[in-house]
């Protein structure tokens, strides 16, 4: 009897000890992971605070609604660049969206075939091509034959950049839809394209829009593919066959200029760009959450 009590006591201390050890390990891992999370946030927070710090002083109402001033004059704004970016991204989306959706649908519906794997591989390759190379390609394929830089060319470059992300996100989203939903549509006597575009798409709309918006957010900050396609423009221009201003290129031009006032404006424009992208990301996520409720 005595012996047994002793053993139980020993067992209890062992359990206690091991549970203490577990707690310590648990705590240690928790601290380490929290540190890692904070470390991951450091670059993000520093970029944000630094850009805000440098750019905030440039922001006033005038900055948003006026055109750049002639070289040498102080002041002026980014109104044309804002409109230009909207036009370029809009035109790019017009091209990239149907194209990306088309490929994504094909890959999700006929993804098992050899041809589909070849297409999937090509799309992944396209995604890994540096954006400046896309810009060069559009320069050779559009700018040179048209003999001018233009919003067309810039939009096409952005559109091409959107294709792989839209295609792959569409594919992944459509693949999540169970096969029996598709079959229910087919069994109603609907052609496959109607089942996909009118039934499956509606069920996955939130996710599809999120994919597109993230892709839009990504290309709206692209500079390299616009440098020798859309070029830039210091004046108002809504024409698609003319060079057009854009936020990233304006930032680039101002940043490499020798003028202090332009440097200030470059920071201001950078701040606007960051907030625009952040805003797109957040609203999409928010809309997505609401949509899935």
């Amino acid at each position: 009897m005595k012996q047994k009590d002793y053993r139980i006591a020993l067992l209890n201390t062992w359990i206690e000890k091991s549970s203490q050890r577990r707690k310590v390990i648990n705590w240690g891992v928790y601290v380490a992971l929290s540190l890692a999370a904070i470390l991951a946030l450091i670059p993000l927070i520093s970029v944000f605070s630094f850009v805000t710090f440098r750019g905030f002083s440039a922001l006033d109402w005038d900055f948003f609604i006026s055109l750049p001033k002639p070289v040498g004059e102080i002041g002026g704004g980014i109104a044309n660049a804002l409109v230009g970016t909207a036009i370029l991204v809009g035109f790019g989306t017009l091209i990239g969206l149907p194209w990306g959706f088309g490929i994504g649908i094909y890959l999700s519906e006929y993804g098992a075939s050899k041809r589909a794997s070849a297409i999937r591989f090509t799309v992944d390759l396209l995604a890994s091509i540096p954006s400046i190379v896309i810009g060069l390609f559009v320069y050779a394929a559009v700018v040179v034959p048209m003999k001018r830089f233009s919003a067309y060319a810039g939009g096409i470059a952005l559109g091409i950049l959107m294709v792989p992300t839209v295609a792959r996100s569409t594919e992944e989203i459509l693949k999540l839809v169970p096969i029996h939903i598709r079959e229910a549509g087919l069994a109603l006597g609907l052609p496959r394209w109607k089942v996909i575009l009118r039934i499956i798409f509606r069920g996955s709309l939130g996710a599809l829009i999120t994919g597109v918006m993230l892709s839009v957010a990504r290309v709206s900050g692209e500079t390299a593919p616009l440098l020798f396609t859309a070029l830039s423009n210091r004046f108002w221009s809504h024409r698609l066959d003319q060079p057009i201003a854009s936020l990233p290129v304006q930032i680039y031009n101002y940043a490499i200029s020798p003028y202090d006032d332009w440097h200030r404006q470059a920071w201001g424009a950078a701040l606007v760009l960051i907030f625009f992208v952040l805003f797109l990301n957040l609203t999409t996520r928010w809309a997505m959450k609401k949509g899935t409720k």
Partner: protein
């Protein structure tokens, strides 16, 4: 059975790649009757059913060979459009599968809407008629705008039946429509089937032999892709001709 039947198969074979899943099946279904298909798991019941509305061929690598006659017209002949055909031969699946993000109303109306019918009075009438036929109207008439997926499992399955009925098919195929449902929902759907056969011809796959006995006029027994026996339900369950059928219905295998 007699040649001039409403809906029948001749030497129907179905493959998945190189596997023959349904072998030379000859069956015929009289109009406004309920036929049940029973048999152990994997014997080709679903595959056979999916040949009847040409859904089988949508599976990659799947193939069909043979004849299926709907009023003496081979549905596998070259001039038949499978999309058109499926409007006449509706289907209800094992798992309730209302379309996500579609309201109750839209789930039922979608077949007509996407076939180009716009008039809201026609759509409303069709939705109400179909929901009544599916014995669901009273339960959902105040929540037609709620999501179809917000209904209970049994209601969802009746919604799927209403959806299939809305395009006014001549034949309704049901693949174990109650296997995912509770006994009360199951009883409702069984009752419904007996009622529906006034309007459509029903072919139902079931694992539940009592169910087959309760609701069907004819019963077919499948085994390993073969049709073993097909006859009047009362006769098949009381005096089966084939001893494999007898062993199956008495629970001695499968």
């Amino acid at each position: 059975m007699e040649i001039s039947s409403f809906f029948s198969t001749r030497d129907l074979n179905a493959w998945f790649g190189k596997t023959l899943a349904v072998r030379a099946v000859n069956m015929s279904f009289a109009e406004n009757t309920v036929s049940a298909i029973i048999g152990p798991s994997g014997c080709g019941k679903s595959t056979f059913l999916r040949c009847l509305n040409r859904l089988h061929e949508e599976v990659p690598g799947a193939r069909v060979n043979g004849t299926v006659l709907l009023e003496n017209k081979n549905i596998y002949s070259k001039d038949v459009d499978p999309v058109e055909l499926r409007r006449q031969i509706g289907m209800v699946f094992q798992k309730p599968n209302p379309f996500p993000a579609f309201s109750v109303f839209d789930n039922v109306a979608v077949g007509l809407k996407l076939a180009g019918i716009r008039k809201s009075t026609i759509l409303k009438d069709a939705v109400e008629r179909s929901l009544r036929m599916a014995a669901l109207w009273d339960e959902v008439k105040d929540k037609l705008n709620d999501a179809g997926t917000s209904l209970s499992g049994g209601q969802q399955q009746r919604l799927c039946i209403a959806r299939a009925l809305a395009v006014e098919p001549r034949v309704l195929l049901m693949d174990e429509p109650t296997s995912a449902l509770d006994p009360i929902s199951t009883a409702k759907i069984e009752e419904l089937v007996s009622e529906l056969k006034k309007a459509v011809t029903i072919i139902i796959v079931t694992h539940n032999m009592q169910q087959a006995a309760r609701i069907s006029d004819q019963t077919a027994f499948f085994l390993l892709g073969d049709l073993i026996e097909y006859g009047a339900t009362s006769q098949l369950f009381t005096a089966p001709k084939d001893n494999r059928t007898e062993r199956y219905i008495t629970g001695r295998f499968g």
